[in-house]
Structures are given as structure tokens and as C-alpha cells.
């Protein structure tokens, strides 16, 4: 009775063996056909540029749509996109974009300036619920319209002078404005398509479905299997189609880092979204390593709720910060994957380097703590550290908790909450110490420093300093040169760190495993993908030993 079963099992196993050891891998097939297999992290929420908020969506949307300007992946400088050129006025408050007359939607329509006006009105419309509407706030009246204080969208500072000329009016000179044109929330959508499938500001509509979508970028959406993959193919009507070398890209939702890494090893992916920390030493040791690691425009830090004792005492805050041995943390627990940070802005943010106002100093930390009334941890009331559920956050929290115990002899308990609860706690200031990460939306120190203006939506520390506000909101924007602007920023940053409302921990790095056959995908500070530059070289193979 059991032998027929045995036979069945052995046949199945043999069949599997045969199927698995033979045959071409997806990567090999992709190299032949010009198809890139890209691990993209989570399944995208959607593909409407005025609705979504995440990084996985970013990669796909920026391959389907094109903004007025695009980023060069090597230099991060803006390049012509839908706009073939632009003029900035003397006072810096007016920008005139000249649209490329060859720019087309995927259904053949010309991309016109009024498409942009319509789309920006949509992005700012309070009914849209666009969480990135603030990207367009540099525009005159944009904030008023978005917050419902202004009724008529036509008063917002964007006008279509003719089909190919778009004039933008800004509140103040904004040096990084062109960069914002590569952020998907400023992209144009095809008005007729959107309205054909529902209201202009409805979030439900099927206009982003495969059969309905109309886009203007180098690729078009051809397949979307929820939680399986998204396939996009080359758009023949794209104005620069001749220079696009890939034929198709398939994006895979790869939330589980360990599985993603195995998929890469099995030849199922050209590129992974992340690399599990424990695998880093293994990959770093390889002579022809597919590991690509680069600084990433983001900072990992702990928020300190300055409204809650004992954190309302700056000496306590400084003690906590100085007791953290960032270098050891990074080199051991974090496998050397990151860089220690002592301020909020990452180093070399478009040439800006933040000041370093303190360092790891256990003796000084102990002295400060004693000064504040807790010598050697006596009378310590206890503190709670909140973080969102994640392997890495847990590792960092456990290590730092121990450091505080060892150096300062104080107890800090850990509270891990999952994402939504954690967000709620942070937004409601319902925490004492909370983990935070901030990734830059554009490359400019302002994106980090304006976090801490009084009452800033993402301040979350209670830090308030009118001098600081003055620099960030008034003096820096009107600085005549970049150097002067940067030195004002340094002044502000030093002011901020003197108060220590946060404990900066490390600067992010982007980590990917990339198959050697992938060319034109350099690492850059924004980990920004410009799909137009990518091509596949079938002669390159992966060697993992």
C-alpha cells in the first residue's frame, strides 16, 4: 500500500529536480529580450500621482509619466523632460517653462500647458486628499487654495500662456523648485481620461487600470496583477523613445527582504530593493560583488518629546545623546551599513555639510545627567522608547537601551507598536522618545531643517525657537548666494543641535543587489531611478564566489 505512494513522491521530486536545474533563469531571458526584473518592495497603493505617497509607487510612476524636468541619475541635476527649456526671472519668482512640442500622451494627444494647469489644480484641490500637496506650496496662493481658504483655483500662480508655454509664479525665490518637477506629485495627468472614469477629484476611479490609463512617459502600463507583478512596456509615442533601450520592466512586490535576496540568487531578479543586514558581510567579501551601497538622503533619529519631563531639561537630552556609541552600533549591529550622524541634515546634501556640535562622550554624559539631578541614575523616573515594528528598529533600540543602561545606569523601556499605531502616537505627541526617519524629497538642506520650525507638522518634538524660524523662513530663502544660504543653514543647525530635541543616529544608505548585466543604473543620493538610462548587457554574468 505504501509503495505506490513512494513511487508518486519520487516521481514528483525527480520532476522538480529536472525542472529546477535546467532551463533559463528569468534574468537570462530578460537580458535576451531587454526586460528588466526589478524588486520593488511593497505592492503599490495605486498609480495616481496625486493620491499615492510611497517610494515603490515613485519608481513605477516616474517610468510611466514624465515631469517638466527629470533628474540625471549620475549628477542629480535637472534635465529637460516635458519642458525642453525654462527661464527663471531676475527676481527668481517667475519661471517660464517651454514645453516640448513633440511631447505626447500615450493615446496620441499632445501634452499641453493647460494639462499642467488642470493637473496642478487637481493636486492642490482640498477634496483630492493629496498628502503631497505641499510640494506645490511655493506657488502663489497654492497653500491658501489647498487649505480651503481660497475658493478659486485660477488664482493659484500657474498659467498656460499658450499650448506650450507654462508660467509659474512663486512666493519667493526657490532654488530647488526645478527639482520638485521630478517629484510625481507635480506630474500632469491626462484630464479627459481622468474625467471619463469619474470625478476629477475622486480617489476610486478606474482611470489607472491597464485598459484605461493614459500616460506621457517612456513606458506604458500593460499588466497589473495585484500582489504578483506590474509590467510596463516601451511607449513608442514618447518624444525621446529612440533613446530608451529597455523593452519592458517588470516590478515585483518584495516585502520580505530574505525572500527577495533568495530570488536574486536564484536569478529571478536583476535588482533588489534592499539587502538584509546579515547578508552584508557575505556580499562585501565577494570579489565581484553585486552589492551596490551608497549614501541616501535620509536621517534616522530619535524624537525627544521636550514637553515631557525629564526630557524638558536640555542636560538630560544631551546626556542621552552623548551616551550613544554610534560608531560601534553601526559597525556591529548594523553591519557597517550606515554612517553615524550627529545632526539632522545628511552630509554632502548638494555640497552642504552640517556642523558637528558633539560626539560620543560617556564622561560628559554622566556629568550632565548628574547635573540635571540624576547622578549615576538615582531618582531616574524611567522613560519609554517607542518604535514601529521592524527587525532593524528593534535591533537599534535594544542596543541603545543597553548603552544607556551601561553608561548612565538608567532604565528605558521599549514599546514597539505597529505602523499605524506608531504614526498616531508620533502625530499626537503621545510618546517620550520615538524613533523617526526622514527621507528628503528633494536635495536641499531646507527639506530637513524646515522640519523644526515652530509648529511644523513633522516637528513632533515641541522644539520652538523664533530665531531658528527667522533663519529658515525669512533669511535663508532671501540669501543672495548659495554659500551665504548654506552658512545661514549651518548657523541654524548648530542652534538646533545645541538644544538637542532629537538624537540623530545614522545617515541612511541605499543598499541593493544589482546584476552585473544592468547598466545605466548608478547609485545616487536620492536613490532615484531614471529608467531612460538603463540597458542590459547579456554578456555579463553573476559570480557569487
Amino acid at each position: 500500500m505504501t509503495s505506490p505512494l513512494l513511487r508518486l513522491i519520487s516521481i514528483t521530486l525527480l520532476a522538480c529536480l529536472a525542472a529546477c536545474t535546467g532551463g533559463e533563469s528569468k534574468v537570462e531571458q530578460g537580458n535576451r529580450e531587454g526586460v528588466l526584473h526589478y524588486g520593488n518592495g511593497s505592492e503599490p497603493q495605486g498609480l495616481d500621482p496625486h493620491v499615492v505617497t510611497g517610494v515603490p509607487e515613485n519608481k513605477i510612476i516616474r517610468s510611466l509619466f514624465e515631469g517638466l524636468a527629470v533628474k540625471n541619475p549620475y549628477t542629480l541635476e535637472p534635465e529637460p523632460g516635458v519642458a525642453e527649456s525654462w527661464d527663471i526671472s531676475e527676481d527668481g519668482k517667475t519661471i517660464t517653462f517651454h514645453l516640448n512640442p513633440k511631447a505626447r500622451w500615450s493615446n496620441g494627444d499632445t501634452v499641453t500647458a493647460s494639462d499642467y494647469v488642470w493637473s496642478w489644480h487637481r493636486a492642490l484641490n482640498p477634496n483630492m486628499g493629496n498628502q503631497y500637496s505641499y510640494m506645490l506650496y511655493p506657488l502663489v496662493n497654492a497653500e491658501a487654495y489647498a487649505t480651503g481658504k481660497l475658493e478659486d483655483p485660477n488664482e493659484v500662480g500657474v498659467k498656460a500662456v499658450d499650448d506650450h508655454t507654462l508660467v509659474v509664479s512663486l512666493n519667493a525665490p526657490t532654488p530647488y523648485f526645478i527639482q520638485l518637477m521630478d517629484h510625481y506629485s507635480t506630474f500632469a495627468v491626462h484630464p479627459e481620461t481622468v474625467t471619463m472614469h469619474g470625478g476629477a477629484t475622486d480617489r476610486f476611479t478606474p482611470w489607472t487600470r491597464v485598459e484605461n490609463m493614459v500616460s506621457n512617459g517612456p513606458f506604458v502600463l500593460t499588466e497589473w496583477k495585484l500582489n504578483r507583478y506590474i509590467r510596463i512596456e516601451k511607449n513608442p509615442l514618447y518624444w525621446n523613445a529612440d533613446n530608451v533601450k529597455l523593452n519592458a520592466v517588470i516590478f515585483y512586490p518584495t516585502e520580505n527582504l530574505t525572500s527577495e535576496e533568495r530570488m536574486f540568487r536564484a536569478g529571478q531578479l536583476h535588482h533588489t530593493n534592499e539587502v538584509p543586514l546579515d547578508k552584508l558581510p557575505v556580499y562585501k567579501a565577494m570579489p565581484k560583488s553585486p552589492l551596490v551601497q551608497a549614501p541616501y538622503l535620509g536621517t534616522y533619529y530619535y524624537l525627544l518629546n521636550t514637553d515631557r519631563p525629564p526630557l524638558d531639561d536640555v542636560r538630560v537630552r544631551k546626556a542621552l545623546s552623548m551616551a550613544v556609541d554610534r560608531d560601534t552600533l553601526v559597525s556591529t549591529v548594523l553591519q557597517g551599513a550606515y554612517v553615524s550622524a550627529y545632526s539632522i541634515t545628511p552630509p554632502d546634501t548638494l555640497g552642504y555639510y552640517p556642523p558637528k556640535t558633539f560626539s560620543y562622550d560617556p564622561d560628559k554624559a554622566r556629568a550632565l545627567l548628574a547635573d540635571a539631578g540624576y547622578p549615576n541614575g538615582e531618582n531616574w523616573p524611567g522613560l519609554e522608547l517607542t518604535y514601529n515594528t521592524s527587525e532593524n528598529h528593534r535591533k537599534v533600540a535594544v542596543a541603545i537601551q543597553q548603552m544607556w543602561k551601561d553608561v548612565l545606569n538608567i532604565e528605558v523601556t521599549l514599546a514597539n507598536q505597529e505602523w499605524k499605531v506608531y504614526l498616531d502616537s508620533v502625530n499626537q505627541m503621545n510618546f517620550q522618545i520615538a524613533r523617526r526617519g526622514w527621507i528628503g524629497d528633494y536635495v536641499d538642506p531646507n527639506n530637513f531643517l524646515d522640519l523644526f520650525i515652530t509648529g511644523g507638522g513633522n516637528n513632533n518634538t515641541g522644539y520652538s525657537n523664533s530665531e531658528y524660524d527667522d533663519i529658515i523662513l525669512r533669511r535663508a530663502p532671501s540669501a543672495p548666494t548659495r554659500d551665504e544660504r548654506y552658512s545661514l543653514f549651518r548657523e541654524a543647525e548648530a542652534m538646533l543641535m545645541e538644544s538637542m530635541p532629537i538624537i540623530p543616529i545614522y545617515t541612511y544608505t541605499s543598499k541593493h543587489l544589482t546584476h552585473p548585466s544592468v547598466k545605466g543604473m548608478p547609485s545616487n543620493l536620492m536613490d532615484s531611478l531614471n529608467i531612460r538610462y538603463v540597458w542590459l548587457d547579456p554578456s555579463e554574468t553573476l559570480e557569487l564566489e
Partner: protein, 291 residues
């Protein structure tokens, strides 16, 4: 006449018979021994653990078993044997406490329903039926997500799932026992229902209850481990075998010992409990058509 006497006597010598039979079952004894060892270790952990629970050694990192660390270390350089011992305290505690909760609720509910009979019984058991049909796994996940993960809630949630079968068994037993003459005798003596239930019915119904309890503990421990694996059960800095296994699974390629040893601890305990439970069932000669 003699028949009733034997029944009345059965209460005491049943246990002696059962113990004799159990002693002959080597697997069950093995289970008992292992369980005893783990429970003793769990109780004595703060004194016998080789290292402090939170003694980190970041520079050491994860190392395989060695002379200083018999089961190796985790990524923070903490001794794995110590972690497993402390984790065992929590896992076993959850197992016993949650089962105890289920036991108390279930036995009381079932006994009352079985004794009282009639309408009240019908209503009580209908409630059990309805609750039984609810997909508890889904609810527990939801509960843990909604109300945050505190240990007390975990005990209650798990206990709330397991008491139902306990109630059914108890009711069945009580219904059968109630018809016995010694119960009628007690009633005619004027004893109150609660006294009768407590002193006469429950002790005599204990056989299947004990068996079922011994078999509930492993399924409770599995439930806790499952929830911890999903991130919904025990939270760091506390640890449990389920948590240790889920951490170990993350890094099992580089540090397989982090998965294997906690896994072994859990599996062995479950083995022991199951063997013991089976042995008790055979020894107490309870009906075999189990569910």
C-alpha cells in the same frame, strides 16, 4: 447492591489504578520527566542561568556554540541558552496560565449546565455552539492588533478560545454522573447544588478533564508562538520561544543555531506534553473517539 458499591469505591482506587498504568507507559514517563525538567528550569532560571538576560556584547555578535556559550550567541552577543531559559519561563507560563483560565471557566460553565439541565442548559450550550463556530484565529489576530500586546490580554484571549471544549466535556461528564445514585443520595441529604458540584461531581469528572488539560497546554503554547511569530504576541524586551524562533528564521542561513535550539526546546516540550496526555488518557481509560 454490589454494583453500586463498586461504583462508589471506584473514586479512590481509580487513581491508584491509573497511576499504575501510567508508570508502565515509558513514553508518558519520559514526557513527565522532560516536562518536570523544563518547569524546574523555568522556575529556577534567575538563579541558574549562566548569564544575565540583557548582557549584550555587541562586538562579539552572533557566534556558534562554544565552551563559553553552550548554545551560541545571538546578534547582540547575548547567550542563547539564557535567552531560551527566560523565553521558556514566558512560554510555559502562558501555557499553564491560559489553560488554567480556560479550565476554570469551562469546568464551571459545563458543570452548571450539565447539572441544571433543561432550559438553562440549552441556552448555555447554545452559546457555546455559537462561540465555537466563530473563527477565533481571526478574532485573536484582530484583538491583538487592536488592543496592543499586553500579556494579560494574551492570557485572556487564548483562554477564551480554549474553554469551550472544556465546557462540553465537563457537561457530558456531569450529565452522565448526575444520574448516578450517589448524587441522588446527596440531593436527598439536602446538600446545595454548588456543594454537590464541587464535592461530588467535579472530582469524579476529573479524568477526561485532566487529559484534556494536558493536551490543551501544548495547543495554547503553539497559539502563543504563532502570535509571537506574526509579531502579535510577546513583545521585546520580554522573549518567548515563539519570538526566538521567528528571529531565528530571519537569519537561519547565517546563524542556524538561532533557529534550531529554540525550535528544539518548543518541540520537545510539546512532545512531552502530548506523550503525557496520551499516557494519561490511556491510563484513565477514557473513550478513544477523541476530538
Amino acid at each position: 447492591m454490589a454494583h453500586t458499591d463498586i461504583n462508589a469505591e471506584k473514586g479512590t482506587s481509580l487513581w491508584e489504578d491509573a497511576w499504575r498504568r501510567l508508570k508502565k507507559n515509558r513514553l508518558a514517563l519520559f514526557g513527565l520527566g522532560v516536562l518536570g525538567l523544563f518547569v524546574a528550569s523555568a522556575l529556577l532560571t534567575p538563579w541558574i542561568a549562566p548569564y544575565a538576560y540583557d548582557a549584550q556584547n555587541l562586538d562579539l555578535g552572533a557566534t556558534p556554540p562554544s565552551a563559553q556559550h553552550w548554545l551560541g550567541t545571538d546578534i547582540f552577543g547575548r547567550d542563547l541558552l539564557t535567552q531560551i531559559m527566560y523565553g521558556g519561563r514566558i512560554s510555559l507560563a502562558v501555557g499553564f496560565v491560559a489553560t488554567a483560565v480556560a479550565l476554570v471557566i469551562g469546568v464551571t460553565w459545563g458543570a452548571v449546565a450539565g447539572y441544571v439541565g433543561g432550559r438553562a442548559d440549552a441556552v448555555m450550550m447554545r452559546i457555546v455552539d455559537i462561540l465555537y463556530a466563530l473563527p477565533f484565529m481571526i478574532f485573536i489576530v484582530l484583538l491583538m492588533v487592536v488592543f496592543g500586546r499586553n500579556l494579560l490580554l494574551l492570557f485572556l484571549a487564548i483562554g477564551a478560545v480554549e474553554w469551550l471544549t472544556m465546557a462540553r466535556i465537563m457537561r457530558g461528564q456531569v450529565q452522565a454522573l448526575r444520574k448516578q445514585e450517589f448524587v441522588e443520595a446527596a440531593i436527598s441529604l439536602g446538600l446545595s447544588p454548588m456543594t454537590i458540584i464541587r464535592r461530588h461531581l467535579v472530582p469524579n469528572a476529573l479524568g477526561p478533564i485532566i487529559v484534556y488539560t494536558t493536551l490543551t497546554i501544548p495547543s495554547v503554547m503553539l497559539l502563543e508562538a504563532f502570535l509571537s511569530f506574526l509579531g502579535l504576541g510577546i513583545q521585546p524586551p520580554k522573549t518567548s520561544w515563539g519570538l526566538l524562533i521567528s528571529y531565528g528564521a530571519e537569519t537561519m542561513e547565517e546563524y542556524p543555531w538561532l533557529l534550531i535550539f529554540p525550535g528544539l526546546a518548543l518541540t520537545t516540550t510539546l512532545f512531552a506534553l502530548n506523550f503525557l496526555g496520551d499516557g494519561l488518557r490511556d491510563a484513565l481509560d477514557v473513550r478513544r473517539s477523541a476530538d
